[in-house]
């Protein structure tokens, strides 16, 4: 039985190995036909003419993710502080399951909500189609809130009580004790929550594909459409063939590498936190 337990535990290693192997084996041949440099720095995506430049999608993914963090991180951190240090017990009792529910809502439902409510709202308010960087960022911000809140709250609650008490004893108010001594002590945990949210935002597909317009051009205007790496794969995989298909798998490889880098950053931050 011990062997069987060991084998089961090793399935994780096997799975990561197989996933990497399949992705790279199917994605790398593309770079024999198309220069990797042109692929990553090309600003034009025209599969019909065999032009594959994914820079607009790379920039698009980071643009949308950055917008989501800009909105989601402050709201998430402040909500976590509220739950950990300001709100009364009954309020926290309501908020905790609410945040868990926010984490559980399927991304396709988020996307549908964005498409039916946020997109028409932006269309009426600012003109254009409404499918835009703005809506995608707002939607992603809501989606990453639970990740940031749960991680930050745990980090704040893990700060020893003496930090807070010491600050009070020096004459600080409750608020400034929380913000000046408790929250800074929880900073590594809060940052790792933000990195986790970043990973989730950059990998999101369904919610973005429904609200972002998906135009494969360099995104500058916040009210115009954008296409991310994830959307590029999902949109065109259905009918792509030959080199086009390989280019999509290569897009997946680029996304995979970006997510791996973020994961590495996350475990690096965590390791430093443990050392401290």
């Amino acid at each position: 039985m011990r062997g069987l337990f060991l084998a089961s535990a090793c399935v994780c290693i096997l799975a990561v190995g197989t996933i990497s192997a399949f992705l790279f084996a199917n994605g790398l041949p593309f770079f024999a036909k198309y220069s990797a440099w042109d692929f990553i720095t090309g600003t034009e995506w025209a599969p019909l003419r065999n032009v594959f430049g994914i820079l607009p999608m790379i920039v698009g993914s980071f643009y949308v993710t950055f917008g989501a963090l800009l909105l989601g991180a402050p709201i998430g951190i402040l909500t976590a502080i509220l739950m950990a240090r300001f709100a009364s017990k009954p309020v926290v009792k309501v908020m905790k399951p609410a945040v868990a529910l926010l984490a559980g809502i399927p991304s396709v439902v988020y996307g549908f909500f964005g498409l039916m409510l946020l997109v028409p709202f932006v269309r009426k308010a600012f003109g254009g189609t409404g499918k835009s960087v703005l809506v995608a960022s707002v939607l992603l911000a809501i989606m990453i809130l639970p990740t940031i809140i749960q991680t930050s709250e745990a980090a704040i609650n893990a700060v020893p009580g003496s930090y807070y008490e010491g600050s009070l004893a020096l004459g600080a108010t409750h608020e400034s004790s929380v913000f000046r001594s408790v929250v800074p002590a929880a900073r590594p945990g809060i940052i790792s929550g933000i990195v986790l949210g970043l990973g989730r935002a950059i990998g999101e597909t369904m919610a973005i594909i429904m609200v972002a317009g998906n135009n494969p051009r360099m995104p500058f205007d916040i009210l115009k459409g954008v296409r991310t790496l994830t959307v590029n794969v999902l949109m065109e995989m259905g009918y792509a063939a030959d080199v086009h298909r390989e280019s999509l798998i290569a897009t997946g490889v680029v996304l995979f590498i970006i997510v791996m880098a973020i994961n590495f950053l996350f475990s690096f931050i965590n390791r430093r936190r443990v050392l401290q």
Partner: protein, 287 residues
């Protein structure tokens, strides 16, 4: 976390109170209201637009373009969930048992398993979609089918079940094991008859969360289990509820029906979350 007493050490007159502190506190409440407001807005918007359209014809056995029934999608979601869990629960639980009960803590292998489980949990669903398509549909020639989709989702849910099992097992007090050993039971018997039952609620909570995740997954399924509108067998293509919702909004003609599907998806997630936290609460009361 109990709230610390509010001690105002500032000047006793009202006007002299710390305005900075008040603003910070107000900002926290504002953020909390935005968070709760977003959730309320989403749930209410979906329910108000969806519940009036939950007609009996939406649950007709046979799908036609006239009734746009979601019955087939519900059955496919059940098959998909059952099949994916059939793969991921045994592997995840046994792996968790190894990590918690057998492995030397801090050994190199355990570290590698932890890192790879974390990696699996972080891989985006669109990458799983590519992998599932390349590995199961094309290379293993299973074709676009429920089985291909379930295998893909099994790998996706594995890290959650593995980690939760390990944590639940580690939370069981050492005295349980020592008592069992003292009565002459072996390692395996102790683990399965004594330790595992105590950890069961934690494992069950992970399974319920996985059910919620599987029923909500879309991106990983479109190219592995496909979008056919029928009650699918294992080797046939069939869409789950969330894929059904995506397809309906894309066709654009059945928005009311799409809202109704979204309501059903929300109900599933709320139900799974509630059950899971109920079980977790029971667990903490016992401990």
């Amino acid at each position: 976390m109990s709230q610390a007493p509010y001690i105002d050490t500032s000047v006793p007159t009202r006007a002299g109170r710390h305005w900075g502190s008040r603003i910070l506190k107000a900002l926290c409440w504002l953020a909390g209201i935005i968070t709760m407001g977003s959730l309320l807005l989403i749930v209410l918007f979906i329910c108000i637009n969806g519940i009036p359209h939950l007609k009996p014809s939406l649950f007709a056995i046979k799908y036609t373009t006239r009734n746009v029934s979601m019955f087939h999608a519900i059955i496919n979601t059940l098959t998909m969930t059952g099949l994916a869990l059939l793969f991921s629960v045994p592997v995840g639980v046994m792996g968790g048992i190894y990590l918690a009960e057998y492995a030397k803590p801090g050994s190199r292998l355990v570290k590698i398993i932890r890192v790879t489980a974390e990696t699996l949990a972080g891989i985006p669903s669109i990458v799983y979609a590519l992998f599932g398509m390349l590995a199961f549909v094309v290379t293993l020639r299973i074709g676009i089918s429920i089985l291909s989709g379930a295998l893909t989702l099994a790998i996706m849910t594995l890290p959650l079940i593995l980690r939760q099992t390990e944590e639940s097992l580690l939370a069981v007090p050492m005295s349980y094991r020592e008592g069992s050993f003292g009565l002459g039971a072996g390692k395996l018997r102790t683990t399965i008859r004594i330790v595992l039952p105590v950890a069961m609620p934690g494992i069950l909570a992970a399974v319920l969360l996985s059910i919620g995740r599987i029923s909500g997954e879309t991106a990983a399924l479109i190219y592995t289990s496909g979008t056919a509108t029928r009650i699918a067998g294992l080797m046939e293509s069939g869409r789950t509820l969330s894929v059904h919702l995506y397809q309906l909004q894309q066709e654009g003609r059945f928005i009311d029906e799409a809202f109704a599907v979204a309501v059903i998806l929300l109900v599933i997630v709320v139900l799974m979350n509630a059950l899971s936290s109920l079980i977790a609460k029971k667990l903490t009361r016992k401990g």
